[in-house]
Symmetry: C2
Subunit: 280 residues, 2 copies
């Protein structure tokens, strides 16, 4: 293979992924992680944290739309939204498409990621300047413990559950999330691939089922995340979540009502997953 390559080896993945790189636009270590911006002719600019691709310009919308809009459309009137992680701004961009939103707090522990996104990913960081957005570089777990705000939607848009995102997977943290949610609140988090990271998904679902009445799992196929069949865990205090509870009034490239419904794992798979009976 000619020229530069980027080799991605997720520790849980039995496949190694290689991308040709036409340009290394940025490479620095922050206080929390190694940050690279690489360019690939097909995927465009790619944000890489600790050697794992976080997003590419080409396909980031699948992930960000699904992470934001399933929860946002399951709520009848989401006004206050908290995003933990997501320093690239893609999730914030999707959340702020909703006119009902009055306040969107984005808390990423790594201010460097926010700066890098402003510099290299204008199509993602475009919403940082929105009047409704509060972008705060700080520890999400600390914010959950200390904030007086009550949220309609909490979104965890974190890196893999190692490194800086580790403190976001504890029982204590999730109890805190429940506490900052309004009585109609909905909670959503990216929970890795159903092929290669199944133990993690089950762990999260079990933790949430102790706290919330309604817990479910949906997914989107993504070519640039190891395992590809990417899941999102969702928990809700009041609203059913497997169908939208209001009409879509925003522009999207992938998400729509039919996608929302079809993206939930089937009852049979969910039952088998949670009882360790999936034979794959």
């Amino acid at each position: 293979m000619d020229g530069s390559i980027f080799i991605e080896q997720d520790p849980f993945a039995p496949i190694t992924y290689i991308y040709k790189i036409s340009e290394i636009l940025y490479h620095q270590k922050s206080d929390y992680q190694d940050i690279q911006v690489l360019k690939n002719d097909y995927f465009g600019k790619m944000l890489v944290l600790d050697n794992v691709i976080q997003l590419t310009e080409k396909d980031e919308f699948f992930y960000h739309e699904m992470l934001a809009h399933v929860a946002m459309h399951a709520h009848e009137n989401p006004q206050t939204v908290l995003i933990i992680g997501g320093g690239d701004g893609g999730t914030l961009r999707e959340v702020l498409k909703h006119k009902s939103v009055k306040q969107a707090d984005l808390i990423d522990i790594d201010g460097k990621v926010i700066e890098v996104s402003k510099q290299f990913f204008p199509s993602l960081s475009c919403s940082f300047s929105d009047k409704r957005a509060n972008v705060m570089p700080m520890d999400g777990a600390k914010h959950i413990r200390e904030t007086k705000t009550r949220y309609d939607i909490v979104i965890i848009d974190s890196t893999d559950p190692v490194g800086p995102a580790k403190s976001l997977c504890t029982d204590e943290f999730y109890a805190g999330v429940k506490n900052v949610l309004n009585d109609t609140g909905i909670f959503v988090e990216q929970t890795e691939s159903i092929h290669f990271h199944r133990d993690f998904i089950v762990e999260i679902q079990e933790k949430w089922r102790k706290l919330f009445n309604i817990v479910n799992l949906f997914y989107v196929p993504l070519a640039t995340y190891a395992g590809n069949w990417w899941t999102f865990s969702i928990a809700s205090k009041k609203y059913q979540v497997t169908r939208p509870n209001r009409k879509k009034e925003i522009d999207t490239r992938f998400y729509d009502e039919q996608v929302h419904v079809n993206s939930f794992v089937t009852d049979a798979i969910y039952q088998k997953l949670m009882t360790n009976k999936l034979d794959w």
Copy 2:
């Protein structure tokens, strides 16, 4: 990376996939293609034709169940089935689960693949000895031109549309498929990834729409096929196909009624795909 590796570079894929190989069990050239059986600790034995993974023991059932059972359940009473390609036997195994089937013809141009499957993949080739199965190593296009049998279901389970599978993508061949289908016949073919092989999908869909009233597209996420979001094109003379037309009475590991319904691409995506308006 220690030890042997297998590098998969689909010519249309901007990602190169690498698998660790613990054992090379078989490597020979047939009259038609290069055939390897490789072993990976996670995926088990893998069948590789012309350097492209065709199946792994771990995840082949996703592909074979979806290729067979969506079409088989859209038909009320499938009795005669033709499989072109599929020399490994996985599709035949799924088809023969249906008690309604009286005759299943498997036509693979490469008899060596059939032999290799018998030797290395007993969990796939197990149905070759079923009384209802006729396994014939010959050219599928020739069979379509010459057979007097009329089929309820025709399944194309081919390699990528280069090499030996090329003659299976012509207008003439598809007109022949229509001709050998009964008035209630259903036709299904694997049509590559919606991420990386979109031109191919559109080409097939357009060809089929000239011949069949009902044409649609469904998919399954697969970790071991380049692009992962793997599609199947389906055409039908009479039955609607987006929902099962009869109850599932067979054992499956993934396919069920809910999977059937959810696996079809949404109307919005289908319309955009066919009018070249997908912006991804």
